[in-house]
């Protein structure tokens, strides 16, 4: 939640958040990056089963969009959701353990990369179905309104999901019922291989907000401050009972769609250009420019993140595997809790 608003000449994030929160945000961005690099490395070594969808390059969107949320607030995430988990305070060891399919993982090895969730921190989970989380987020917002919890739900989805029917139904209902939900579209330009130009009739996805009579704004998703400014405003509006908003964070994924992507639909130049707009050094620079951290501090934060990842991998690899005979354990809720 934004904390102060003194000097309006300063960038929003600097005005809104304490130095401690901002240092923590930088650390989280490093954690996302290093988690995914570690995951990729483990995959290459053959230690990970299945595929994964990496969000390297999109860290400002994930961490910026969750800055203003409390543990009471909910998020629904996507198949490219590691950053959202970290933003919502997930434990890196349990994330890695899930990646390795361990009983100690967030989903006890049943979910894997695509379903990491932590309901205790308000993370209702990533979703393997494009657009699957959109109506669920609206349902969470309906609960918050009905139960009067004051919680806001941030619904992450990609540019691909904005062409699903669920997008239309969900945004419409959220608007009709004035629910406290913020739809955050992480537009990384491609739904697998198909660019937004080839798939989406409007130039900016945020324009679609008009169809649901809700505010829509498009921001540079690699600019941490711009993301927090837009999402925080939408969260505040939701919390105030004024209904949903749509925020479009324009960003880019450096890696392919998944590990089977051969990158035939975009040019090396395009990728290089976006890699030049790396959100993490940009965030470090923002903090250094405003004397919140020194260069040494940044190096120390990065080293700390590396240490956390190293410990997390160690925790994950040493964890027990799920028991085959318990595979159906969590299909139904045990009678005792009924």
């Amino acid at each position: 939640m934004p904390e102060s608003t003194q000097d309006t000449n300063l960038p929003y994030a600097i005005r809104a958040y304490s130095a401690e929160r901002l240092r923590d945000a930088l650390k989280k961005m490093y954690l996302v990056r290093k988690f995914e690099e570690g995951a990729e490395d483990s995959y290459m070594r053959g230690l990970i089963h299945g595929t994964m969808h990496l969000s390297i390059g999109q860290e400002a969107s994930a961490i910026g969009s969750t800055m203003g949320l409390t543990d009471e607030d909910k998020i629904t995430s996507t198949h490219r959701g590691h950053g959202h988990c970290v933003g919502k305070g997930a434990d890196l060891g349990k994330m890695f353990a899930e990646f390795f399919g361990k009983e100690t993982g967030y989903c006890k090895g049943r979910g894997g990369s695509m379903h990491i969730a932590d309901p205790s921190k308000g993370n209702l989970g990533a979703n393997g179905i494009v657009g699957g989380g959109l109506p669920i987020a609206v349902g969470a917002a309906l609960s918050a309104k009905r139960l009067g919890t004051g919680a806001v739900t941030v619904c992450f989805f990609g540019d691909g999901a904005n062409n699903e029917g669920a997008f239309h139904e969900a945004l419409n209902m959220a608007a009709v019922w004035k629910l406290p939900v913020v739809f955050v579209c992480e537009n990384n330009k491609y739904g697998m291989s198909t660019s937004t130009e080839r798939s989406t009739a409007v130039k900016n996805i945020a324009e679609r907000a008009a169809a649901y009579a809700m505010p829509g704004v498009t921001v540079d998703g690699n600019d941490f401050s711009a993301v927090t400014e837009a999402v925080d405003a939408a969260v505040a509006r939701a919390r105030a009972g004024d209904g949903p908003s749509l925020v479009e964070n324009v960003t880019y994924r450096w890696r392919g769609h998944s590990k089977s992507d051969r990158n035939r639909y975009r040019t090396k130049d395009e990728i290089n250009e976006w890699m030049g707009r790396d959100p993490i050094p940009a965030m470090a620079k923002l903090l250094m420019d405003h004397h919140i951290v020194t260069e040494d501090d940044v190096a120390a934060i990065e080293a700390e993140a590396e240490g956390i990842i190293k410990d997390a991998i160690e925790f994950a690899t040493s964890g027990p595997d799920p028991k085959v005979e318990e595979v159906i354990r969590d299909v139904y809720t045990p009678e005792a809790t009924a």
């Binding site: 049943r110 209702l124 109506p135 669920i136 969470a140 009905r146 239309h168 969900a170 419409n172």
Partner: protein
């Protein structure tokens, strides 16, 4: 005047029984809410919710837009975050629009999340033929959902069970799909007052018999009962089992009966092939009850076509009393 000592058994229609169950659930638990298309002032496409909106308001008897996928997803999200939605589809056929949320989300979330959440969701599906509503408003799709681990699927056949199973579904922490036969909505029957539940996963022996087991679902239970009464005049003593729950299926009741009678006829309205009867038959064939079979298993189910409009055709494509009667006779008298 000692009428008070022997009160008349109270009768309600199947629809009234469901409404009473929802009323009790709304009354008892503020986290319960009804969702669906035209369930508010309209009272529901089949007048099942009736005037509950007057008592509980539009926030708790929530009309949704015509958005089956979105509506179902909202119900899933609400169920994950503290509410207990009872979601009504206008026609079970429309579940096809919401399959993603039912099958990929509601059924799987708990499992995918390693058991850290439950989805206490109830969905009601007005189902079945006999109303002249033709192919897209008359299906019996319980077997589709019965195929999905994570869901529970019930088919009440009486007003008493319609209320009891709905209250059991509301109390259940997992998603429960209730298939209500539209033709039964007006059927009257005894319904106990107040709160009670009918156990999910437990079949009911509606009529004990020794010659043949008829396992029926939903409206077919009544047709099977009518058949059994007719056949008893000819000395054929049929046992009629109301399956009540499609998933999890009550193995013990069915197998015990087959061990006793040695003959099995399954009667259901859904399409015969790959339907509920296929599962019942396979369950028997895979068990020790197989060794008690003294005749081939016979299934009577819906024809291999969509439900047609013409009333004679519509009747012809689902099992009727004469069909059941002929099949049971053949099985008992050794003609198959």
């Amino acid at each position: 005047m000692n009428a008070q000592n022997k009160p008349e058994l109270r009768e309600l229609s199947y629809a009234e029984a469901i409404r009473e169950a929802m009323d009790i659930a709304l009354e008892d638990d503020p986290s319960v809410l009804l969702m669906g298309e035209d369930i508010g002032v309209y009272g529901g496409a089949f007048q099942v919710t009736g005037d509950l909106v007057d008592k509980y308001g539009t926030d708790r008897v929530l009309d949704t837009p015509i958005s089956e996928l979105g509506g179902a997803g909202v119900a899933v999200g609400a169920a994950l975050t503290g509410l207990k939605p009872i979601f009504e589809f206008q026609f079970s056929d429309f579940a096809a629009l919401a399959m993603e949320q039912i099958v990929n989300q509601a059924a799987k979330v708990r499992f995918m999340l390693g058991g850290s959440v439950s989805v206490p969701l109830v969905m009601r599906f007005p189902a079945g033929s006999g109303t002249g509503a033709a192919a897209q408003h008359s299906q019996s799709i319980e077997a589709w959902l019965g195929h999905v681990p994570g869901l529970k699927v019930v088919q009440p056949s009486t007003p008493e069970d319609a209320k009891g199973l709905l209250l059991a579904a509301v109390a259940d922490p997992d998603p429960v799909m209730i298939f209500e036969h539209k033709i039964l909505y007006k059927m009257k029957g005894h319904v106990p007052e107040g709160y009670y539940t009918t156990p999910i996963g437990k079949a009911a022996v509606r009529r004990a018999g020794k010659d043949v087991t008829i396992v029926a679902t939903s409206i077919m239970v009544h047709k099977a009962m009518e058949t059994a009464e007719k056949l008893s005049a000819d000395g054929i003593d049929a046992e009629v089992i109301d399956l009540r729950t499609v998933r999890p299926m009550d193995r013990d009741t069915v197998l015990d009966s087959v061990r006793k009678t040695g003959r099995l006829v399954c009667v259901y309205e859904g399409v015969k092939t790959l339907g509920v009867g296929a599962e019942i038959s396979a369950m028997v064939a895979e068990s020790d009850a197989f060794d008690f079979l003294d005749a081939p298993i016979v299934r009577l189910g819906g024809a291999e076509c969509p439900i047609p409009y013409n009333p004679e055709l519509e009747k012809a494509v689902v099992p009727q009393v004469p069909d059941i009667s002929a099949a049971v006779r053949d099985v008992v008298q050794g003609r198959v």
